[in-house]
């Protein structure tokens, strides 16, 4: 939709740079907010600020310009091209897992292992590690850039013992499987957390320029393959799971295909009351008691 001429004129009076922020922000208030953040970041050089404003005008995501995104309780996640920017829904999911499920589980003295599939920038694994320093957490991703950035983020936030492995989640090699599930009696990890690509390819025309043009399509587009893959492969190796999703269809795929005698599966709604996740547990496992509280 076009921005009305009056809004452009009004914004010009406040700051001559403000009209350039409008195409992405839409409202003067939001544009002003973003301009303040940019000004604070590029305090010293005006030429860099102008360049940044022009980049924003062309649709580059703010997080790629500022290179960071706050996440979790006290984390700063670095953002680079070719790696998906962490979303607030994911932040909420991490908060939910930490406060509702893992809070009491941390007290048990046995060693807890969590796998983060499609780790991306490492935001989920780091947010879990931040609250539960004793847990063993492993992240898996297919992209080399993601593994590199996730390790950088780990060092930036002064966290240790988070391991990132490069590997294909859809077709895991036997060596990867051995690394992930060793040191366990039943060869099962306590939890699998994942934020797989779930945006439907048919919605591509409606997407915003900043997502369409700048963010990696590998981390965005997918439908059922990751959920089918979970049912067929990964569900045999875990006691509980939490997957982010976007469509009803994806939830049904998990719920219908898992054995209802062994598994309990639930929906998770986000702050805007939209279906955003699916979680579940094995009924006879240790971690199942944590879900009932």
């Amino acid at each position: 939709m076009r921005i009305s001429y009056r809004i452009i004129q009004n914004s010009k009076k406040i700051d001559p740079l403000l009209p350039f922020m409008l195409p992405q922000c839409r409202t003067i208030q939001h544009a002003n907010q973003e301009l303040i953040w940019l000004k604070n970041h590029f305090q010293n050089s005006k030429s860099k600020l102008l360049k940044a404003v022009l980049q924003r005008y062309n649709g580059k995501p703010l997080q790629y310009i500022l290179e960071t995104q706050p996440f979790g309780d006290d984390l700063t996640i670095k953002c680079k091209l070719n790696v998906l920017i962490p979303r607030w829904e994911t932040d909420d999911i991490c908060n939910y897992i930490n406060t509702k499920i893992l809070k009491n589980y941390a007290r048990t003295d046995k060693k807890v292992k969590i796998i983060d599939l499609c780790s991306g920038s490492g935001c989920v694994s780091l947010a879990l590690k931040e609250k539960n320093p004793t847990f063993e957490i492993v992240g898996v991703d297919i992209s080399d850039d993601c593994i590199q950035l996730a390790t950088e983020n780990k060092i930036l936030n002064h966290l240790q013992d988070v391991q990132y492995i490069q590997g294909n989640v859809l077709r895991p090699s036997s060596s990867l499987m051995n690394v992930l599930t060793s040191e366990k009696d039943a060869k099962r990890v306590d939890m699998i957390v994942s934020n797989p690509p779930y945006v439907l390819h048919s919605t591509l025309p409606q997407l915003n320029v900043s997502v369409k043009k700048y963010e990696p399509s590998l981390a965005l587009f997918g439908n059922l393959q990751f959920y089918e893959n979970f049912v067929n492969v990964w569900s045999n190796h875990c006691d509980s799971f939490f997957y982010e999703l976007g469509e009803e269809e994806q939830y049904l795929c998990v719920q219908n295909n898992l054995d209802s005698n062994v598994w309990s599966v639930f929906k998770w709604m986000d702050g805007n009351d939209k279906l955003r996740g699916v979680y579940g547990y094995r009924k006879n496992s240790n971690i199942s008691k944590m879900f009932n509280i």
Binding site: H30, Q63, P70, R87, S210, V211, K274
Partner: protein, 169 residues
Amino acid sequence: MFKEIKFIFKRLIHTNLVLDTKVKANKMPPRLKWDPKLEFEIEEKFLYGGSGAGGQAINRTASKVQLKHIPTGIVVVNQFSRSQKDNRKKAREILMEKIESIRNSDGNGNGMGMSDRALAVYTLKKQRKENRERGAAKKYKKHDSERSEINKKKLEEERMMILKMTGKN
């Protein structure tokens, strides 16, 4: 009768309360602290606005926090920072200030409709402004006296010159 009218006028003109107490910058009342008991009286909401798919399909840069204090009905919205944690903290500070201002109005507390801290900051600013003005007045007084002396000298010189030329005063 006349005296009474004068008295009323005087009262009307001085509507601003005169603050007798002086505030020192190193002896300020403490900042307001968020009372953990109030956590049960508020409703916290995170506004992300807008319809549409959400999730990975939309990249939002701002996170808005809305606090509602149920007993008084005060609503506070804050989105000054990109980090939700900072926003929540700041919103709580603003809400605390508003609650405190209600406690201090209508003859209760300090009666100024402000928390002690905010009142101290306000008076400190006022004091500094007054001091600055006083200083400026002093400075100009000095300048003016110097200037008038110079003018006097000039006049004296002119008078003397005229006296020399004409022999008359």
